[in-house]
């Protein structure tokens, strides 16, 4: 299936909206969407390796580096060497991080209500288009 110009434009708009929403969450919650996503995953993955965490979130490990550095600076995560293999890092949620996440969740619950009107099908279409584009970009890089 080829993507038409109008679909690309609509994806672009979605991208911009997410970018703006990300700015709002960072300002209002003290956490960007990526950071919120990482902390949420970390709750159930104490002392996770960067690789496992990236896999859990669904991104490439290198994508995490900057976000983790910011979270560490805020004191929300603790990054330590794996006691048995110092090449590996272990990432854990701190008490401060857990409290920040709780506060963010409380504020987010109101926003989530606003999103309740968004149809599941629409989300699936957006995910599908985003995956298609990223796959085609990866294929191009491969060539």
């Amino acid at each position: 299936m080829s993507i038409h110009e109008s679909e690309l434009l609509s994806l672009f708009r979605i991208g911009i909206s997410i970018h703006n929403f990300n700015k709002i969450t960072e300002r209002e919650l003290g956490l960007s969407l990526v950071q919120w996503c990482l902390l949420t995953k970390l709750i159930d993955m104490p002392a996770a390796s960067a690789f496992a965490l990236a896999k859990g979130v669904g991104v490439h490990p290198s994508t995490l580096t900057q976000s983790l550095k910011r979270l560490e600076k805020k004191g929300f995560v603790h990054v330590a060497d794996d006691p048995r293999d110092c090449r590996r890092k272990m990432i854990s949620l701190t008490r401060t991080g857990q409290e920040a996440l709780q506060t963010a969740e409380e504020k987010m619950s109101t926003w989530k209500m606003n999103f309740s009107g968004v149809k599941k099908e629409l989300v699936l279409i957006q995910e599908y288009l985003a995956n298609q584009i990223s796959d085609s970009l990866e294929a191009e890089e491969g060539e």
């Binding site: 159930d44 006691p83 008490r95």
Partner: protein, 254 residues
């Protein structure tokens, strides 16, 4: 290995209290200190009180090589999981593997009773496995050598698990502590496990950390070759470990 009582390790330990975690403890040498006579190994009042308190916040499991009847005499509270004979006996479940294990043990007992050991060697009948203790032997080296020599002649061939001044004979097909803990993850439906143990049989659990994840492993006593990630120096520090965990849960309460 890293000391458990360090700032970084405590943050990791605290992070377990944010998720659904099962706290599993070996008994001899971990919850109870090693004593000359294995029969005298009991929990201190403080340890038992702390374990009871912890079980109010999170599920607790005791994973021991002892038989379940023996274990029940030693603890005066009901942990959520009591795993004995290294996973052969789980709480009060009866499995077909137990009949076979009982049969194997009876045959080994007959063979071992015919052998003369020095006065300090004791044969402990755990019903579904046997333990030959030589802690009180005056010639430990010779007795251990003797035990090692006779094991290959036993029929059916047992699995041999070496502990601190003890040689355990367990049925070949029976689970080890590692599989017992894997089973605990399934049964408890918890997302993470904290496990602390002190001897070689606990290495089966420590090794899970690398294959399964979802587990924080602590060894009583630092040992370079151990696969556990963290250690406490002595068994006497177990109460401090329990207190710390309880403290983390209390801190998280509104």
């Amino acid at each position: 290995m890293m000391p458990l009582f360090s700032k970084g390790s405590m943050i990791v330990l605290e992070s377990l209290s944010f998720t659904q975690t099962l706290y599993a403890f070996d008994y001899d040498g971990t919850l109870a200190r090693i004593v000359q006579k294995p029969d005298d190994a009991y929990l201190t009042k403080t340890t038992e009180t702390l374990l009871k308190e912890l079980s109010k916040y999170a599920p607790v499991a005791i994973v021991s090589g002892r038989g379940i009847a023996d274990m029940k005499k030693r603890i005066h509270f009901q942990p959520q999981f009591l795993v004995c004979n290294r996973g052969l006996e789980v709480s009060d479940e009866v499995t077909p593997a137990l009949d076979q294990a009982l049969d194997d043990c009876n045959r080994w007992k007959t063979a071992l009773n015919a052998i003369k050991f020095s006065s300090g060697v004791e044969l402990e009948d755990k019903v579904y496995s046997l333990a030959i203790h030589y802690r009180r032997s005056r010639s430990k080296k010779e007795d251990l050598k003797k035990i090692k020599e006779l094991v290959p002649d036993l029929v059916p061939a047992p699995r041999v698990v070496y502990g601190k001044s003890v040689v355990n004979l367990v049925p070949a097909q029976s689970p080890h502590k590692g599989t017992a803990v894997l089973d605990l993850i399934q049964r408890s439906q918890m997302k993470h496990i904290f496990y602390i143990g002190d001897d070689d049989s606990d290495e089966d659990v420590f090794s899970l950390d690398y294959n399964v994840g979802q587990i924080m492993t602590v060894r009583v006593g630092q040992k370079r070759s151990s696969l556990a990630k963290y250690f406490i120096k002595h068994q006497s520090e177990i109460n401090q470990v329990l207190k710390s965990i309880i403290q983390f849960y209390k801190r998280g309460q509104p």
